[in-house]
């Protein structure tokens, strides 16, 4: 098994998809000649040429909309939003145009495009370059949303997203790009969109998470006195209710750990669904571990406190399992 960087998984997924299907093109700011601000497209220009690896002006509305038009006309564009916040100047083309094209043409016109973006906090990029923002996309009819969590899931989700006949958003936690791990590439590997993975089995509680929080929860699993089952959601919409519900039915407890505020996160949807489907079968109240209701702070110490870490997740899970009560978040405890 070769040790590879997470960012290489993005590169390989794009490279393999382009090699297999001439319809695949990639677009974004500085992704071609410069190889991408995060070096996830390095070398693709040389291999696939300037007609398929396209540097764009700083015009998110133009190139996101161009991806919609190209997709309708037979291409499979993969667009990079350098930081997911940038789509705030172009959201319309994705959620209002791309996502309704199939409906408005009764299935005749489809938009097989992918928007991939770096997302999330942890590196001191400040509050306008550190959010997940999946809530801007989740639940939009016709649109799917995924979050990667390591090299394997990055490759598997990106390939599936590019194969998909409909628009898909793939959020890549920026903080993971520089992670290294053992992974053997397989051109045929896919993670079906809409399926979650049980990445650790346990019996005391089901902890549902995704993205950069997966490794945090894994770390917590080693510290907590509880034996927790960890589910990597992978696709936030449509999400894998079956896997989650089945797990909670076994463990009797549900905890969600996400890099989002309480009001914007996917934890509400998961907890609500499980509360309904597992009604009467839970040993403890569904519990959400989220960010505090504040923008992402820059200063290192603050950003570290702002994000859920293994110790905090451990405390929260231990408290829940021990008391079967939902513990208060850190910002409501006397610190």
């Amino acid at each position: 098994m070769a040790k590879i960087w997470n960012r290489q998984a993005v590169l390989r997924a794009l490279d393999d998809a382009m090699a297999e299907d001439p319809a695949v093109i990639i677009m974004g700011e500085d992704i071609a000649a410069a190889g991408g601000p995060f070096k996830v497209t390095e070398g693709l220009l040389a291999v696939h040429g300037p007609d398929r690896v396209i540097d764009t002006p700083i015009s998110e509305m133009a190139f996101l909309g161009a991806a919609v038009g190209a997709a309708v006309c037979g291409m499979k564009p993969v667009v990079e939003m350098m930081f997911i916040e940038f789509i705030g100047v172009a959201l319309d083309e994705l959620t209002t145009q791309a996502a309704t094209m199939r409906f408005l043409s009764r299935g005749k016109l489809t938009v097989p495009m992918v928007v991939r973006a770096s997302a999330g906090a942890g590196q001191g990029f400040g509050c306008q370059h550190s959010q997940m923002l999946d809530h801007w996309f989740r639940g939009t009819p016709g649109l799917k949303v995924c979050v990667t969590s390591n090299a394997r899931t990055t490759y598997g989700l990106l390939r599936s997203a590019i194969d998909d006949p409909d628009p898909v958003v793939v959020l890549e936690p920026r903080v993971l790009y520089a992670e290294r791990e053992d992974y053997e590439f397989d051109k045929n590997y896919r993670i079906p969109l809409g399926t979650a993975e049980v990445v650790r089995s346990g019996k005391d509680a089901t902890v549902v998470t995704c993205g950069a929080m997966v490794r945090v929860v894994k770390e917590a699993a080693e510290k907590t006195s509880a034996n927790i089952e960890i589910i990597d959601l992978l696709t936030l919409w449509p999400w894998d209710r079956r896997t989650v519900v089945e797990s909670v039915q076994r463990t009797g407890r549900l905890v969600t750990v996400e890099e989002a505020t309480m009001g914007s996160g996917w934890g509400g949807e998961v907890c609500a669904t499980v509360s309904t489907e597992c009604f009467g079968k839970l040993k403890a109240p569904p519990h959400r571990i989220t960010l505090p209701d504040a923008p992402v702070p820059y200063s290192g110490a603050l950003e570290a406190r702002y994000l859920p870490n293994a110790d905090y997740v451990t405390q929260q899970v231990d408290a829940l399992v021990a008391t079967n009560r939902s513990p208060a978040p850190w910002w409501r405890m006397a610190s």
């Binding site: 093109i25 007609d51 398929r52 764009t56 002006p57 015009s59 998110e60 509305m61 133009a62 190139f63 996101l64 909309g65 161009a66 991806a67 919609v68 038009g69 190209a70 997709a71 309708v72 006309c73 037979g74 291409m75 564009p77 100047v89 319309d92 083309e93 209002t96 145009q97 309704t100 094209m101 199939r102 409906f103 408005l104 043409s105 009764r106 299935g107 005749k108 016109l109 489809t110 009819p141 016709g142 799917k144 998909d164 006949p165 409909d166």
Partner: protein, 343 residues
């Protein structure tokens, strides 16, 4: 004559004939009037945006491009849809929310569509169609097809970011796009000089180093000629153009708008340059139509459009299952993807 063909493609090809072009302009005029009436009769919901007065722009564009060139247009798209080939049944039917409509009643007045003649679902968000046209042009080039994309939008839309980004994007990539601005002097209820510091939209081409052309939008031949040049330029790989069609909408912005904001006499002045009359006179001179035949054509069209309207009113509402049939490839409607430029 229109009613003889229910194939959008056949209707489109018929436009090679000058007489048919005149008839199509009359059809657009008549369909818009009928839609107005259908609204009054309570057959139409929401809003609808008429383009009577702008017929020459629609037919002139349709004449100058091929059926498999791509068109992105706005909610003010009835005329363009008809010109491109969509049947009166398809247009009126969609606006009435019936199965017979070109989007099966799912879209409504602002979302007319017909892939067989290159019309993408018309865009209800100002500016949204321009980037999409750029993408269609990129696809044509990438697939080695000499197709062009035409983006049609209004004067008011040239103040939105997507206009700027799209012209810059198309210019820097020399994309085969023709940007057509229908300058009808108003954005909703506001006259252009209150929102736009330049009188001619065409001058904005300067900022992108592309041609900016001003055309008499009431003269179908002038429209077609200007389009032909821009299209040739685009196909030759010389990049995009911005064409400003000076035109006028006779009705208000949308159904309920009496357009009282218009200066006295403005409408009359434009009526004197009615695109249908201008073209009819010319065709009379060319002996393509006999003198006095115009009235007959109006009558024939009225009869045909009325027949189409009755067909629409006899057509059912879509099945409830349609709501969930076309959301994703997993929906009941399944994948029947249109393959542009397949041959």
């Amino acid at each position: 004559m229109i009613s003889n063909s229910n194939s959008p493609l056949a209707r489109r090809e018929a436009l090679g004939d000058r007489r048919e072009q005149l008839v199509r302009m009359i059809e657009i005029r008549n369909v818009e009037e009928r839609i107005q009436k259908l609204f009054a009769e309570g057959h139409i919901r929401g809003s609808t945006h008429l383009a009577n007065g702008q017929e020459a722009v629609a037919v002139g564009i349709a004449r100058a491009i091929d059926p498999d060139d791509i068109v992105t247009c706005t909610y003010r798209g009835h005329g363009h849809a008809l010109a491109l080939g969509v049947t009166p049944q398809g247009v009126i039917g969609e606006i009435c929310g019936r199965v017979i409509g070109c989007a099966g009643g799912l879209g409504g007045s602002m979302h007319l569509v017909e892939p067989s003649v290159g019309l993408l679902p018309t865009f209800a968000i100002v500016g949204a169609g321009l980037p999409v046209a750029c993408g269609a042009a990129m696809a044509a080039r990438a697939r080695g097809k000499d197709r062009v994309a035409v983006a049609i939008f209004g004067d008011g839309s040239t103040n939105i970011g997507a206009f700027h980004e799209s012209l810059n994007f198309a210019a820097i990539r020399k994309l085969p796009v023709v940007f057509v601005c229908e300058n009808n002097l108003y954005g909703e209820y506001t006259r252009i000089q209150l929102t736009t510091p330049v009188e001619d939209i065409a001058i904005r081409a300067t900022g992108y180093n592309i041609p900016g052309i001003i055309v008499d939008g009431q003269d179908v031949d002038a429209v077609a000629a200007a389009m032909a040049n821009a299209v040739a330029r685009a196909r030759a790989g010389d990049g995009p153009s911005l064409i400003e069609m000076k035109t006028y909408r006779y009705s208000g912005h949308s159904r309920s708008d009496p357009a009282t904001y218009r200066p006295a006499g403005e409408l009359d002045a434009w009526l004197k340059r009615d695109p249908i009359n201008i073209f009819a006179d010319r065709l009379e001179g060319e002996k393509v139509i006999a003198s006095g035949e115009l009235a007959t054509l109006f009558d024939d069209v009225r009869v045909a459009v009325e027949a189409a309207t009755q067909e629409v009113l006899a057509s059912p509402a879509p099945d409830m299952a349609e709501i969930l049939s076309h959301v994703s490839a997993r929906s009941a409607g399944g994948d029947q993807r249109w393959n542009f430029w397949s041959k």
